[in-house]
């Protein structure tokens, strides 16, 4: 099973600006107060471009794409 890159939000940096949810509605929705909830942490292959754009555009640099964890042996 291949491990995928994971999308995370730094809750301290995040200010609820909302750009990420507009760019990635497949993976992020906004809660009742405008802050992002990651609904799909594992990024499907087809969305890597959009994810890169969202990470780049976040005004607070709060969106992070963590590299896939190293596979376990055995």
């Amino acid at each position: 099973m291949t491990r995928r890159a994971r999308l995370t939000v730094d809750p301290i940096a995040c200010d609820g600006r909302g750009l990420c949810a507009e760019l990635l509605p497949e993976l992020i929705r906004l809660d009742d107060w405008g802050f992002p909830v990651i609904t799909g942490a594992e990024v499907p292959a087809g969305l890597h471009g959009e994810v890169a754009a969202a990470v780049r555009l976040c005004p607070r640099l709060a969106l992070h794409l963590e590299p896939p964890p190293p596979g376990r042996a055995g």
Binding site: P11, I12, C14, D15, G16, W33
Partner: protein, 425 residues
């Protein structure tokens, strides 16, 4: 300002951490401490020797007494094996208003805590030991440190720092940041074992360090001679609310909850519900829990945990829903304010609970959704713990909620039961 910490120990076995009933003030002074416990054995030495001593701690099965219950030996091993010299931080902040055990321990047995901190420093090769003490107990710890400096007790430098105010100030990364002259708020970096600040740090609750000091003197099998095989040793508990003698007691894990309440003189009136584990704990009906052993294993059928050993008793005449609303409002206000879901989510939850408590209002379906929404979305566990407590209240006080939706309330007294301090200065 919190209540004056009362201390009393009527455990069946002789107390280990808390001083003897006969002379409660004696152990605060160095002479009394040495008379009772003897001198602190040195833990310094080569790596092999220190790892063997850590093995003793592992065999004893000591786990953290700050609420999380993480095995202490594991933390010690990781830091002792590390390349860089760590620092030891004794966490006596006790930001939780319902808990008094750390203040009492630091006031009555500061030397035991400092012994533990210095031993931990020697075991991990640390450069210094910092005791962060709640302001109510700070003077006692500073006096003790001064006595030890004069007597030349410790090879490792010991520094005493007064804690900051506020609930979140007691969180491990917040304490670490406070010692580095930063703001006393959580940093949010996932704290892998020992690695959150500039220097690797061992952050341990002061009670855990006190137990460590005794294990170094008396060994693992002595430690295990009390408690249960899964949860050995003794623990400090804070009993508050509708008990005759609220205060801090030293007990063995596994003692039935009714036994705990008897230690505190029993309940003055019949109890309605108990809050087990503090403000991040679980509400349970008194009848359901009185016969259960007070331990992680014993309470798990109810979804409750001893946590930092806090049991609050709500008398039958008080309204559980109103009390929950009060606590939730306090928790919402004591957020560090760094993360949106915590700031806005807890405030919204508190508002709905207040409406429900006042009668006739409050959308509890929305509250349930919000409880899921705030969990795991802050930099620390403040929203998670609050959500757990509120979730348990919605289950435990189901009947009360039904009454309130029809504009009635079973409570007879309007006053709040548990302490809710004002905003931090």
């Amino acid at each position: 300002m919190s209540r004056d910490p009362a201390s009393s120990c009527l455990a069946a076995t002789r107390p280990r951490l808390l001083p003897d009933e006969a002379d409660p003030g004696a152990a605060a002074a160095l002479r009394g401490h040495l008379a009772r416990h003897g001198a602190r054995p040195s833990c310094a030495g080569g790596r092999h020797h220190r790892q063997r001593l850590i093995g003793e701690v592992e065999e004893a099965g000591l786990t953290g007494r700050g609420g999380a219950g993480f095995p202490t030996a594991k933390k010690l091993r990781v830091l002792a094996a590390g390349r860089r010299a760590p620092q030891v931080i004794a966490n006596g902040v006790e930001g939780e208003p319902a808990s008094d055990k750390d203040k009492v321990l630091l006031s009555r047995a500061p030397h035991l805590v400092i012994d533990g901190a210095v031993s931990a420093a020697e075991l991990t090769g640390a450069t210094e030991a910092v005791i962060v003490a709640h302001p109510a107990a700070c003077q006692a710890v500073q006096d003790a440190a001064r006595e030890r400096r004069a007597a030349g007790c410790d090879q490792v430098p010991v520094r005493v720092l007064a804690a900051a105010d506020g609930f979140t100030a007691g969180e491990a990364s917040a304490v670490l940041r406070w010692t580095e002259r930063g703001a006393p708020v959580p940093t949010g970096r996932a704290p892998r074992l020992g690695r959150f600040g500039h220097q690797p740090a061992l952050v341990q609750n002061v009670e855990t360090l006190a137990h460590l000091a005794l294990i170094m003197r008396h060994g693992a099998s002595w430690f295990r001679s009390a408690g249960t095989p899964a949860e050995p040793g003794t623990m400090l508990v804070t009993l508050l609310g509708a008990v005759r003698w609220p205060g801090v007691y030293e007990v063995e894990p596994g003692v039935p909850v009714s036994g705990l309440l008897d230690l505190a003189g029993g309940t003055a009136q019949p109890s309605g519900a108990l809050l087990i584990g503090g403000y991040f704990g679980t509400w349970v009906a008194a009848a359901d829990v009185l016969d259960l052993p007070f331990s992680a294993a014993g309470l798990s059928p109810l979804g409750a945990r001893p946590g930092a050993g806090i049991v609050g008793v709500l008398p039958a005449g008080a309204c559980g829903l109103a009390e929950t609303a009060r606590l939730t409002r306090y928790l919402a206000g004591s957020s560090a304010g760094q993360c949106g879901p915590c700031v806005f989510g807890l405030d919204a939850i508190a508002r709905e609970l207040e409406l429900a408590a006042a009668g006739g209002g409050g959308d509890l379906t929305r509250v349930r959704r919000w409880l899921r929404d705030v969990t795991g979305r802050g930099a620390c566990h403040h929203p998670d713990g609050t959500a757990l407590m509120v979730g348990s209240a919605l289950r435990a006080f189901r009947d009360e909620i039904g009454l309130h939706s029809r504009g009635r309330c079973s409570g007879t007294s309007g006053a709040g039961v548990f302490p809710v301090p004002g905003p931090p200065s």
